[in-house]
Symmetry: C2
């Protein structure tokens, strides 16, 4: 009887925290066909060169080898969605080794964070929470007269990538109409598709959720989008020089003035970066009641200083940049690597490969 | 030129609260073709008989006329979803006047309340809220290691009516698998349909969301359902003698023992009535860690006394029976009446007509 010779990969997994038993088990199970080395990196201490030299597959957040230590590497897999923090590295400049990102795994947690904030606001739910803490069966009238839900509302999603799509998918299920906004036009069915990794059972692979698509990088285009009568605006754009302070006083005013809802002024959700909007203008718009509230997972700066006025701005819900985090993060990222190792073995094209834009 | 003679209805709308300007405007706009009388009922004071006698259409929560004052009535519309509180009234016994309920309008708010509670629990979000109150940019590690989302999870929905269907619809969008449980079998496509009123853009009209359907009123059937490896169990059953304490220690144990998730033990959501479960057994199961948490919009008794242990049972989220409430409640209920008045004028069959089961 003969035996089949399978090329056995050597995975080097570098992580900045201790590997929990759960994560270690997931890695060993998923890559039982490979040799696996787990390495916890320490700040300021370089990863030993021989670890890089022995590896055929590198799995990392930020650590990369010198070019001369990368000869055996066939694939680099990053735990992050973007590569902006690595763009200047010689390995990326050289371009020999394909680099796959974890783009696509953030949709479920960030969409849940988004929807949760909408509902918390619409249902005045922190009052319910405080009443429970006080063992108080609260009076219902204010909820009957003040609560509102999402069915029938319009949401505009600035940046219709994997995260925007999962928000769109859930919004549609809630009975909302979804309006997509992208930098470049998406006129053809092909251009509306999501070609990256998608967590099974989520997202909008064909781009069939939006009732209409809008696009442009100029002020005119975004202003016409903000005049659609939106109840929600979700900011899911990458931060670039073009998107820095993309939204300011004038845009918040437009959004507010064009609101048609009888229930509430528009609500802003920012899951992108603090600097995509003019934060002082946002605080003003909230204080003035032009907007009914804002859910902010990102601020400018981060961490937000204790004495910053944003903390107590009316109807602001702030999280410390955690909307994408959770126990599924690493396993889902490794699902992408598993797919790519199988594709590598079969000589098929890899997914989620970096194409040179930094995100 | 001739003129068309249209029969002009006389609507009597009885409400136990003051009519807000918003509600009054909605009513007058929606029924501009009818004469409308608004009457705020006071506890212990009967509604004047002449109001009933003049009305052709009665819109009410609980007030009903004596039989002898009902001769002009062609239709009674109730703001409530069920009629259990009215079953013994002579008008219902006589059965001459069709009675339409507001069943179907509760899906959006109750589904949002449900999903919100799941996400609050999965994201440890009250800690984030408390950190914001303290102006504290919280440490992220505990969220990375402790948070989990719904994608890939299994939800069992006990009672797949309009509310269960909207929960199913949103669950599916979140990436979950939905298992439906009904009292009677739903083997044919026809029997899986929702034939009542549905808020536009919501629900599961064809019953196409569940991956499987289960049924039965006996202990054996429910226990086999609870053994499916569910992450969530939603109780959306009507309270009847058969469903009183339908779930107890043994059922919670089964649910827990069959859980396959590596993230958390099963989570219970009760949006039905407090008495459908054995509340003491639920407290025990939560204290013992058999269940990871419970969202309870209903308790036994209501209001829950200040010194009741349920308030502080670990991972319990309690609301004072408000999950269905909000500003859309009355307008949506009146949408059903509008549909029925149009059908009445055209001689078409009415929707949402009471068929004699009390819910």
């Amino acid at each position: 009887m003969g035996s089949v010779e399978v090329s056995r990969e050597h995975l080097l997994v570098i992580f900045y925290q201790v590997f929990s038993p759960e994560v270690e088990r997931v890695i060993r199970e998923k890559f039982a066909d490979s040799e696996v080395t787990l390495y916890q990196s320490k700040p300021g201490e370089p990863v030993p060169r021989e670890l890089y030299r022995n590896a055929t597959i590198l799995v990392t957040f930020t650590d990369l080898p010198e070019l001369e230590d990368s000869h055996n590497l066939k694939l680099i897999h990053t735990f992050s969605a973007g590569l902006d923090h690595l763009m200047s590295h010689p390995i990326l400049k050289e371009g020999r080794i394909p680099i796959a990102t974890s783009s696509g795994i953030h949709g479920p947690p960030i969409a849940e964070w988004t929807i949760m904030n909408w509902i918390l606001a619409g249902r005045q739910h922190f009052q319910v929470y405080e009443a429970q803490k006080a063992h108080h069966w609260d009076e219902k009238t204010k909820y009957m007269q003040g609560n509102h839900d999402q069915a029938g509302k319009k949401v505009g999603i600035l940046g219709y990538g994997s995260i925007g799509r999962q928000i769109g998918r859930v919004s549609q299920a809630l009975g909302m109409s979804v309006y997509a906004y992208t930098a470049s036009p998406r006129k053809t069915p092909e251009s509306k598709k999501d070609t990256g990794y998608i967590v099974p059972g989520t997202g909008d692979p064909d781009g069939s959720v939006p009732v209409s698509w809008h696009h442009g990088t100029d002020k005119e285009s975004i202003r016409s989008f903000l005049s659609l009568g939106l109840d929600h605006l979700v900011i899911s754009l990458p931060l670039t020089p073009q998107t820095t302070k993309f939204l300011g006083a004038e845009e918040f005013g437009l959004l507010s003035d064009n609101s048609t809802s009888r229930f509430a002024k528009p609500y802003i959700t920012n899951i992108s970066r603090g600097k995509v909007l003019d934060q002082d203008a946002l605080i003003d718009a909230l204080n003035a009641g032009q907007l009914s509230g804002a859910a902010l997972d990102v601020t400018d700066p981060e961490p937000l200083p204790e004495d910053h006025p944003l903390w107590d701005t009316p109807n602001v819900q702030i999280s410390p940049h955690l909307s994408g985090l959770g126990r599924e993060y690493l396993p889902r990222s490794l699902d992408i690597l598993r797919l790519n190792l199988d594709r590598l073995a079969k000589g098929e094209p890899l997914i989620n490969v970096y194409r040179g834009r930094g995100y």
